[in-house]
Assembly symmetry: none
């Protein structure tokens, strides 16, 4: 769930927003003051901030500046001011969007999706580690004792599948389907050859594998 910080001094509106946003599967926290907002932003690390500029203690623009001082998280500004001057000021100060009140809820939700969509396209980096080697899936790299290991495309795809199911057994037919398509899902010999190649490149003692383990009669398993 996406963590979302709502900064809104109007308690009724804040509660309403929180309810609707939670219904749309956001993990919502609400601040009613600027100081609390800055504190929550630093401590809770929300992934998006909805910021109403009208706050009781400090100016909303200062809250924005305070956040931008150390973070690039998306900030969507909400304000009663409609003149373009204020919009320009907020947008140039680092806001990712500006919605004037009164606003349509579905539009706010859509604009929220826009700013969060950008983060999602940057996939997280799942890295699988074992005692002997490290598999970096997004970078498509395998390192052993700090040095990069060169793998052929097929070797990599095989290791990738095992790494995605790290710790679990992957059936032979499933592996072969991914590697060679559904028609040749019974050529188990093919797997043995490539498993041997992977072990030769990655295992300290290829004859006694500790991480690329075969489950007799079933398939193979990558043990972290």
């Amino acid at each position: 769930m996406t963590r979302l910080l709502v900064v809104e001094d109007d308690a009724a509106l804040g509660r309403a927003l929180a309810i609707i946003l939670r219904a749309h599967r956001y993990d919502v926290a609400v601040s009613t003051t600027g100081t609390d907002a800055l504190q929550k932003a630093a401590a809770w690390h929300p992934e998006v901030v909805i910021l109403d500029l009208g706050l009781p203690d400090i100016d909303g623009m200062e809250v924005l500046a305070g956040i931008r001082g150390w973070s690039q998280i998306p900030v969507l500004v909400l304000s009663a001011r409609q003149n373009s001057e204020d919009k320009v000021y907020a947008l140039d100060a680092g806001a990712d969007d500006y919605v004037a009140k009164p606003f349509a809820m579905d539009e706010l939700l859509a604009r929220l999706r826009v700013v969060t969509r950008r983060r999602e396209t940057t996939p997280e980096d799942p890295v699988v580690q074992t005692a002997a080697f490290t598999v970096d899936l997004p970078r498509r790299k395998v390192t052993r004792d700090g040095a990069e290991v060169r793998l052929t495309p097929t070797e990599w795809r095989l290791l990738e599948i095992l790494a995605r199911h790290a710790g679990k057994v992957v059936g032979r037919t499933e592996l072969l389907r991914e590697l060679r398509g559904p028609n040749l899902a019974h050529e188990t010999h093919y797997l043995r050859v490539y498993l041997a190649q992977l072990r030769a490149k990655l295992e300290p003692d290829p004859a006694a594998p500790r991480h690329l383990i075969t489950e007799p009669g079933v398939g193979y398993r990558l043990e972290p």
Copy 2:
């Protein structure tokens, strides 16, 4: 200068926009039809698109979909429709912002700065360095041993994409989509030729590349 494509069927408004935007140091091209917009987007590779939804030939939403089919460049939608329904539809279809007509020019410029700002900050470091050469993305320059290296436009675009994903592998199809559009995403030979040209200009020993590395069967990678 930031390349900016304005898609606007109203010739007078299009010209006015172009003049103002050029005064703000954008490199502007104008399309008055949807087909021309799609063609220009693929051929000219603008960095931002301003898209009016009301077009004479094809629906503006289809233009948006056409661009989103192969590129993630920011698209700022301009429309006379004010109801939130249309806004939600466009935003969810991949638009980065939605400005309703009539609009204040300074607000449009501010929102333009927002979407371009994001592009500039996406790479962690806008300057990618290797042991042999330096790629300065904002200045569009490559230096090697202190001297600037002259690159052709295509060579630069290729290097730019690799630099944006520095350290990570970029798939062949992704590279070709960015370079030549979605239809020719299988001409891998084209990539080999240009990679060779880049290596000849940048690598100390082009026969044994250390930074412009090929990942067999997958794509290429720029190693810092």
